[in-house]
């Protein structure tokens, strides 16, 4: 069930002095790298679709960057904002293009209960498609990368290390192109999240569940970047991977964007610069250290 990993995230119990007597603290703390897996892929939407289940792509071959089961997002100067399109259920070659099917649909015909109608996404011509990287963490700390591996990048074990917590972590909307724009479709036009560097979704359970018996009340987080990891971090002492203790060398700060059901979403800043400094970019070697805590109503468990 959705909550079967919760014991691995418990930060402590709370005495029943409040109206709801089943509240608990849950938390996750760890480090993650290869964030650019969730940056724009280079796959472009070919033709706007106001509402439907199929998006045609051009540019880079979609099947080399996107897999069935991936959550996909669009961004770019034509969309003006970063938004989720849905979960891929099929990728089909069609005469020089590829069609991405989103079985649950997108747009106003297929409303998302968590998105106000005015913000319902419309697939925009030439929008950049990016993919969420999703990790599952068992109560024993075993990490599995369940999607977002379309580029054949490193395994989950090398990307995510958990000190505390279990459940699911999803990363998306990584803005790795903060350089000044030089023209249409150039740097900073493919994705522009203002000061946000990425979004991170923490799910206390094996999947997002808005109706199960654990509901988060509130969540806070603290973050930091290691910009000089050079692809090495303490991950798996038993493996042959070179290791290096993560040394946070840039300030990062995050805002809790939403808590719903068993999931909290944070928007995390780009590496902080003093005023007048030059903004640094998130690269594939950037490590994010994260620590989030939430209070959960644990009804009936």
């Amino acid at each position: 069930m959705a909550l079967d990993t919760m014991e691995g995230s418990l930060g402590g119990g709370l005495l029943p002095i409040a109206k709801n007597s089943r509240r608990k603290i849950v938390m996750m703390q760890g480090e993650v790298k290869n964030l650019t897996q969730s940056a724009p892929t280079g796959v472009l939407v070919d033709g706007s679709v106001v509402s439907g289940t199929v998006i045609r792509t051009d540019g880079v071959s979609a099947s080399s960057k996107i897999s069935v089961g991936d959550r996909i997002f669009q961004s770019g100067f034509l969309t003006f904002r970063f938004e989720e399109l849905g979960t891929v259920t099929a990728i089909t070659p069609v005469s020089g293009h590829e069609d991405i099917t989103i079985g649950a649909g997108f747009g106003q015909t297929y409303p998302d209960p968590l998105v106000v109608p005015a913000r319902t996404p419309t697939a925009s011509n030439n929008a950049e498609i990016s993919v969420a990287t999703v990790y599952d963490i068992s109560p024993d700390g075993v990490v599995t990368e369940v999607s977002g591996h379309g580029g054949g990048l490193e395994s989950g074990l090398q990307n995510l290390f958990m000190n505390v917590g279990a459940g699911r972590i999803s990363i998306y909307g990584v803005d790795d192109q903060t350089a000044a724009p030089s023209g249409q479709f150039e740097d900073h036009e493919r994705i522009n999240r203002m000061g946000t560097g990425l979004s991170m979704e923490f799910t206390f359970g094996s999947e997002v569940d808005l109706t199960d018996s654990l509901n988060l009340v509130t969540a806070v987080g603290s973050f930091g970047f290691d910009m000089t990891a050079a692809g090495m971090m303490v991950i798996d002492p038993a493996s042959s991977v070179a290791t290096k203790a993560t040394q946070v060398d840039r300030v990062a700060f995050g805002a809790c964007h939403r808590v719903a059901g068993n999931t909290a979403i944070f928007h995390i800043s780009l590496p902080y610069e003093q005023e007048g400094g030059a903004q640094e970019e998130i690269t594939e070697n950037t490590v994010l250290k994260f620590c989030i805590m939430a209070v959960a109503d644990n009804g009936g468990i």
Binding site: K19, A252, Y272, Q274, E275, G277, C291
Partner: protein, 194 residues
């Protein structure tokens, strides 16, 4: 009555957190004398008595806690955050040990921090005169500070505190020894079995 809404904002009380239980620990206070070359170390005991452990310019009047006790150390001070020390964008690294010493190993009876959260703001100007009166600088002399988590290790944590926040297009203010930081830190810790 005044507490009519308390059910709506009360989270709950914490369990005692006996052996292998978890506890919330916190520290709240303010600090001055943070300037280039002024890296210092202080100990604040359970009665709030301050002792200077290191730092040629440090005095016992540099720090005042409303809540909490332990070791407080300033590292990597960079008055304009340009990266002349360790962390670009950060004015200093504040190190907190909940205890009278740093315990990194899993020592029976000790604390192992598993999560930490902090808020920090700067008071610029004449704040240096106010640290012991629980005062803060006037609103137009204060600035929020972005805070990043640097490390968690045993009973010890480090946070990187950004230089006073400026809007885009502003001019970065460099702080000096008279600037004050106001900090709140909450951590969750495992209490290890004796």
């Amino acid at each position: 009555m005044a507490q009519s809404f308390s059910d709506a904002f009360t989270i709950g009380g914490l369990t005692g957190g006996g052996g292998d239980g978890t506890v919330l620990v916190a520290m709240r206070g303010r600090m001055i004398n943070i300037d280039a070359g002024h890296e210092s170390e202080y100990k604040v005991d359970g009665d709030g008595v301050v002792t200077v452990l290191a730092g040629s310019t440090a005095t016992v009047d540099d720090i005042d806690l409303d809540f909490g006790a332990g070791l407080i150390t300033t590292e990597s001070i960079d008055v304009d955050g340009t990266g002349t020390t360790t962390i670009e964008g950060a004015g200093l690294v504040l190190c907190i040990a909940f205890g009278d010493g740093i315990i990194r190993a899993h020592q029976p009876g000790g604390l192992q921090i598993i999560g930490a959260f902090a808020n920090v703001g700067w008071s610029i100007g004449d704040a240096g005169q106010r640290v012991l009166t629980h005062g803060i600088a006037p609103p137009d002399n204060s600035a929020p500070a972005p805070v990043g988590l640097k490390s968690i290790d045993g009973n010890h944590l480090k946070i990187a505190i950004g230089v006073p926040y400026e809007p885009e297009g502003g001019t970065q203010i460099a702080f000096n020894e008279f600037a004050m930081i106001n900090f709140d830190i909450i951590a969750i810790a495992k209490r290890l079995k004796i």
